[in-house]
């Protein structure tokens, strides 16, 4: 049987500013994840790093260690790759006052 894989759209056309994070996504069945964050509009202000976070329960979050700069321009894409994440995944970023980005965030999971 072919191994399971799925593309999940976790944030679509979402405005990220301040302390932003994607909705929790359960993926305990997957051995690896690639996460893409695309800027759908021209980002405003300084763009921070976005970081992968993991969780024991989907409610309490800790950095996993993987991070990448937020996309600097419209249609630019940031990529994050993780292999050990337990069950829960999300991406978080902390924006300075006045900075923002409208994102499409997709998680690509493979068993």
């Amino acid at each position: 049987m072919l191994p399971e894989n799925i593309t999940a759209i976790v944030a679509r056309n979402e405005l990220w500013s301040g302390s932003a994070a994607s909705e929790p996504y359960e993926a305990g069945w997957a051995r690896e994840a690639v996460i893409f964050v695309r800027a759908l509009k021209d980002p405003k202000g300084a763009q921070p790093a976005c970081r992968v976070e993991i969780s024991p329960d989907g409610m309490r979050w800790v950095p996993e260690g993987t991070s990448a700069p937020m996309p600097a321009a419209r249609d630019a894409v940031a990529a994050l790759r993780v292999k050990h994440f337990g069950n829960w995944l999300r991406v978080a970023a902390d924006f300075e006052v006045g900075a923002e980005s409208t994102v499409l965030m997709t998680i690509h999971l493979k068993a």
Binding site: E4, V10, R12
Partner: protein
């Protein structure tokens, strides 16, 4: 019948003669994808009701205090999660077409809970869970409306524990998107217009803390020929569907023989609501 009864995966269902799909979510999402709203030119055109949707997950129902609950006979269930904002909804959809207008049967084992973010029973935090079909007759049928039967279990509203089945017959006015007059949108899951199913009160097994769940059986029968509901059963209760009707709107030019199934969750508080689906069996007589 003997084969069905002896098959541990199917024996808990009562399918019609042909099984269209049987999803136990130990083999992936089985075609249950995110209901995305219509748009043209710009995603900003998508109605907010659809823009809030996210992709369903495969969950082991892992809880902070007791670990993974698991499904009925595999580790996994489909999880449809809302955002943590009162009134938020999320919808998963499975898209088919039909080859004959006849009886179809939709059976699921489901449960619902709010996110276990408080050490309280939280029994009124989930507003509702429900399902709907999105149907349209064939292109040569004379009576082709688009027909959308909707049913929800209204668990609570504004903190009141109501526990009753409801249906709706109205959607919002159609809105054209973009400039080509090809794409339209309407919000059939708007909060307005839900009606009580006669004698539709039902107290389900919620259990005693937010991390204990029990699976509940649901069956909905619909006749594609008459476009009428013919039955609803939830666990031990059988409901009179003679007063039930669907949302009915004029046929649309690209949806012939459409046979779509949706399942949804709504939260009543600023806390995520979770609809878990252990398994789904969709069958028909054709």
């Amino acid at each position: 019948m003997a084969m069905l009864r002896s098959d541990p995966e199917l024996s808990r269902f009562d399918p019609l003669p042909r099984i269209i799909s049987h999803d136990d979510f130990s083999r992936g999402h089985c075609g249950w994808s995110q209901l995305v709203g219509n748009y043209e030119d710009d995603l900003d055109a998508m109605l907010p009701g659809y823009a809030q949707h996210t992709s369903a997950m495969l969950s082991t129902l892992g809880h902070w205090d007791a670990g993974s609950h698991g499904g009925m006979d595999s580790s996994y269930a489909l999880k449809i999660a809302t955002r943590p904002r009162a009134g938020a909804q999320n919808v998963a959809i499975k898209r088919h077409t039909f080859r004959k207008r006849g009886p179809i049967r939709f059976e699921v084992y489901f449960t619902f809970k709010p996110e276990a973010s408080a050490l309280k029973l939280s029994e009124t935090d989930v507003r509702s869970v429900g399902f709907l079909f999105d149907l349209q007759g064939g292109d040569r049928d004379g009576d082709s409306d688009r027909v959308m039967p909707h049913l929800r279990f209204l668990n609570a509203e504004n903190g009141s524990h109501l526990q009753k089945w409801q249906y709706k017959t109205e959607t919002t006015p159609f809105k054209a998107l973009g400039s080509t007059n090809k794409t339209f949108t309407h919000y059939h899951l708007s909060p307005e217009g839900w009606r009580d199913l006669p004698d539709g009160g039902q107290r389900l097994c919620y259990n005693e803390i937010p991390t204990k769940i029990n699976w509940t059986y649901l069956r909905f029968d619909f006749d594609l020929e008459s476009m009428r509901a013919t039955g609803l059963r939830c666990n031990d209760r059988v409901f009179d569907m003679s007063a039930f009707d669907s949302i009915r709107i004029p046929a649309m030019k690209n949806l012939w023989c459409m046979l779509n199934f949706c399942m949804f969750a709504e939260t009543d508080t600023d806390k995520r609501a979770f609809l878990y689906v252990d398994s789904v069996c969709i069958s028909g007589d054709f």
